[in-house]
Symmetry: D2
Subunit: 349 residues, 4 copies
Amino acid sequence: MIKVGIVGGTGYTGVELLRLLAIHPDAKVEVITSRSEAGLPVADMYPNLRGHYSDLAFSEPDVGRLAACDVVFFATPHGVAHALAAELLDAGTRVIDLSADFRLQDADEWARWYGQPHGAPELLSEAVYGLPEVARSKIKSARLIAVPGCYPTAVQLGLVPLLEAGWIEPRGIIADCKSGVSGAGRAAKVGSLFCETAESMKAYSVGTHRHHPEITQGLTAAAGQSVGITFVPHLTPMIRGIHATLYVRLNGNSLKRSDVEIQQLFEARYKGEPCVDVMPWQSCPETRSVRGANMCRLAIHRPEGGDLLVVLSVIDNLVKGASGQAIQNMNIMFGLDESAGLKFAGLMP
Amino acid sequence: MIKVGIVGGTGYTGVELLRLLAIHPDAKVEVITSRSEAGLPVADMYPNLRGHYSDLAFSEPDVGRLAACDVVFFATPHGVAHALAAELLDAGTRVIDLSADFRLQDADEWARWYGQPHGAPELLSEAVYGLPEVARSKIKSARLIAVPGCYPTAVQLGLVPLLEAGWIEPRGIIADCKSGVSGAGRAAKVGSLFCETAESMKAYSVGTHRHHPEITQGLTAAAGQSVGITFVPHLTPMIRGIHATLYVRLNGNSLKRSDVEIQQLFEARYKGEPCVDVMPWQSCPETRSVRGANMCRLAIHRPEGGDLLVVLSVIDNLVKGASGQAIQNMNIMFGLDESAGLKFAGLMP
Amino acid sequence: MIKVGIVGGTGYTGVELLRLLAIHPDAKVEVITSRSEAGLPVADMYPNLRGHYSDLAFSEPDVGRLAACDVVFFATPHGVAHALAAELLDAGTRVIDLSADFRLQDADEWARWYGQPHGAPELLSEAVYGLPEVARSKIKSARLIAVPGCYPTAVQLGLVPLLEAGWIEPRGIIADCKSGVSGAGRAAKVGSLFCETAESMKAYSVGTHRHHPEITQGLTAAAGQSVGITFVPHLTPMIRGIHATLYVRLNGNSLKRSDVEIQQLFEARYKGEPCVDVMPWQSCPETRSVRGANMCRLAIHRPEGGDLLVVLSVIDNLVKGASGQAIQNMNIMFGLDESAGLKFAGLMP
Amino acid sequence: MIKVGIVGGTGYTGVELLRLLAIHPDAKVEVITSRSEAGLPVADMYPNLRGHYSDLAFSEPDVGRLAACDVVFFATPHGVAHALAAELLDAGTRVIDLSADFRLQDADEWARWYGQPHGAPELLSEAVYGLPEVARSKIKSARLIAVPGCYPTAVQLGLVPLLEAGWIEPRGIIADCKSGVSGAGRAAKVGSLFCETAESMKAYSVGTHRHHPEITQGLTAAAGQSVGITFVPHLTPMIRGIHATLYVRLNGNSLKRSDVEIQQLFEARYKGEPCVDVMPWQSCPETRSVRGANMCRLAIHRPEGGDLLVVLSVIDNLVKGASGQAIQNMNIMFGLDESAGLKFAGLMP
């Protein structure tokens, strides 16, 4: 059994790690830290876990205990993994960071978007951006994984095939994204209250969301050239789910591509992928079809047969967009079946 | 008091007309028809109206009784107004049609999108597309009003200032729209069930929605030239509300326009409008801010100061997107205060 | 025009007062205070009010400015009205307190339930518990009104007819109540987050809710003898609405009462009441039928014709359960039409 | 592998069986019938199952193919299992019926509540009411299981310990129950539309719900004497979940029982039960804590230390209230680990 530690387990990605690892056949949570809740049994905070973790309580962060684990997940605000990762890596413990600390390869850019200096730039060279469908081989041998953000996962999986193939204009891409409220985390903020979010829809952080540079970085790598994207996130009255609606234009050489070719490009790119599902041409994936599941479901449209493609990409932001993808990374790193513990279907209805 | 008749009052736009007219100072509902519910008091079907319409019951459609009204609203599936409008107009009764029957000026195009011949092409020349912010003077003298659809209202109000001014490219416009479930009506369809729509988000009718030609027609008129738009509607887990996220590009001549100029363009265009509210630059309007209110709330963004503008436009699909706008038209037609009976604020939270 | 002041206008009852007063024909908000938001235009915090209060901003509490009003509403946490009411009353300003400060007639009991000494026991003798259907004549001449709590309004209106008539056992009453999340206010608490309350139902404060003594006090007064009630509130995934399901037993003398007599008891008790609606025998009122409306809708059931009655009572907790009822009190106090500004129907759907 | 057949797989209990069986280690769905959807791959109707049932399509009901299975689940409207069960049993196939066909032991009572003659009274003597916590030993050897209804499961598990112990009055029990909308099934009914159920709460079928006789039968068996219960179901704006709030009175002999004794009664009764969780005294279980999980979570309150107990009982109506409990029965019948395939935690948030 892989010994697992979790730093900062009181938020939604933390409890989701616990939920998923509770039925993982090859991993066991040994330590979960929370400064504020030290001493509290996890099942007292999360009654859905009653019966699953009878002996596990939140504990004060202790590097020694964490270093005794095979792998430590960080489900923390940004900055925490910066401070602790090196020590754990030195002790031979692998680190899977669900925060944004190691997602951007450029420390200066990180500092600009997060408003504080990067705390561990020396680790950036070995940090692997853990999108398995793009970086599987690097993940296998990685010691330090930066788990992609939720929006970046949905957007990249929707666009990577087209950008790698060079079929679309790399500028002028539009990502109109809709997220459930759990993306805002479990912090007590007025803006996340039921009465502020239910029965309403709004855009937010237009052009200024911190996932913007992460998306750009990933798409640029896929395209092999600079990519320009407008990213508009929207807050949607549901708990879980991201729906990315992606607008791209076929470039001159590719205007003649048939619908079938485009569909086949996606199907070939994701053939054999256990956590990406390319639906039939012109399908409309629902976020609920992946609720609770580690799956990205995609479909492609070409309105009126023109040069504009609309790619629809849905994930559960807490699973394929966070904790499930983190476990997928762990599975790869430790040579397990990539979807071990992640095989269940979405909860529908 | 204006004597009002309503044809087909059992759906959501019907009950919304009743709710709004219940407190209208100058209008009174005299007749409401429903073949299926004839004899049923309206308050038995809609208990929110108990105490408001003690004597009103649904009745069999009867042209004579309808023709005795000053104005008749059609809150019916398409085709019904085609059949009845002429007779009412001949009797001197004005007609405000909330269905799609008279929205498209081209009868052939209507037939193509609705899959049946246009039933009253001879009335098209006098039918006025009732978007008050665009056609107020024509509405004043109109006998037959086609109330704009919900998506078309949100999209047109968001784009008309830019198109009239000629500041944006008329091709390549993207309208990513999100609608509450009431847009699907009160029909008993599996796809509109709570368990099929709650806690989920999906696109639908990508490139094939019947509001597409209506939007194109309106934008083309505003631009004075052919307009090309990609329209992707999404089903959102809320009862009421449309959020239109509109992506347009400044054209060559207008790239130098400052943010202030763009904001002022909107403010000037809608100065004095009682039912359009231009929010401060870079605001994020919430659909709930207009819940139950006859208001379109707009805001403009220009991510990274580039050539792309993002216009956010929200309405309540049943009010400014249907029944409220219908009453606004009535007010104009009868020389009343344009927002008589429509002055209340949105229900928030 | 009645000059209105509001103390503490940033919460949900505050914004609801503003929404309702915006269309009140005889009242105008002159001052609204908030220490934390002083200087902020109210429409900046509550965009649904844009266009309604162009000149009104939150201001520091100032007794002088408040005392210049005809009436001051307190939409504050408990304790605040204790501190300020006397000074306003001395200045001739009437006070309508939406908090719990003057609801309990016994200062010691108040202190016990609220964990602090009562701050103005000398005012209790003149404070009128503002349930218009019970205390209309006292309200007319009152200077200080304690607006009933939301649960107490729904429960009392459902039981008062039976208790006044002496038809039911005064002990062993059960009030199983379900409330929307807005009852918890606008405070940033984890327990009120969308992700903690959506798609779930739970009981809370079983037997310990602060509305318990208020309910008991009101029912005891109606019965003319001591009343015993078990009150179990539940948190329900909706914004607005209270549904009280009340279980009572006919007493020995009344077992022979027919269904018709029971129904008539209610109808007679509430005949002419503008804000209580007795539905037909065995109806099932929906909370949405009163959403946004100042109405209590009631229905009575007698399962299997036995001795147990089930009374169903629904209100909008922010309207008839708070701000609407406060305005209803104001209307009575100032000799206006009792439902001035409160005539609109519920928002449905 | 156990060969599984499902009759009537297009409703919510059908898809839930598929979801749960997709990860069951010892069972495999061989046949799923639906007259209306014959030929359609199940994953086309339920995209959450894409990748799980690549070869399974709905087929016309065929007794021969069903009889080749080890066990057949009926997820059908009432009456269907009546017609088919005998033939399958004769063929040696075991039958687990999720409908109400075999829940009531008295054929006449069944006929009265369901408005049609009982179609298979000769099977009633061997039908086992499949509440494992009450009838485990009978289930082991049963050929025909009647899976309890959702409300009956929540209510019985909450009351059985007290009734078996004889501590409470068997008359005057109140079950105030709240259900998510999925309890109404996937039928296209206006009353189940999102816009008719979201943001609202209502009671329904007061005193007339078909689960009433089933509850009474089960409680009477537990008590060993006639039991009288008032059952009021409520429709709650959530997809899944039942919250039963149960009001009972300690009888004369038991009034002296301490809180600790009462708690211990429940803990002892359910010791070792894999699918019942007795929470600490005075807890408030949330339905979301069992969302998607085959678990009933209970807690007991005693307001003001009196004779009235309030038992709170939550389940997921589609899992422990239907499909999960059906599989739990299958596990017992086939000698498997009772919670095989049912070990996952609830989806929270």
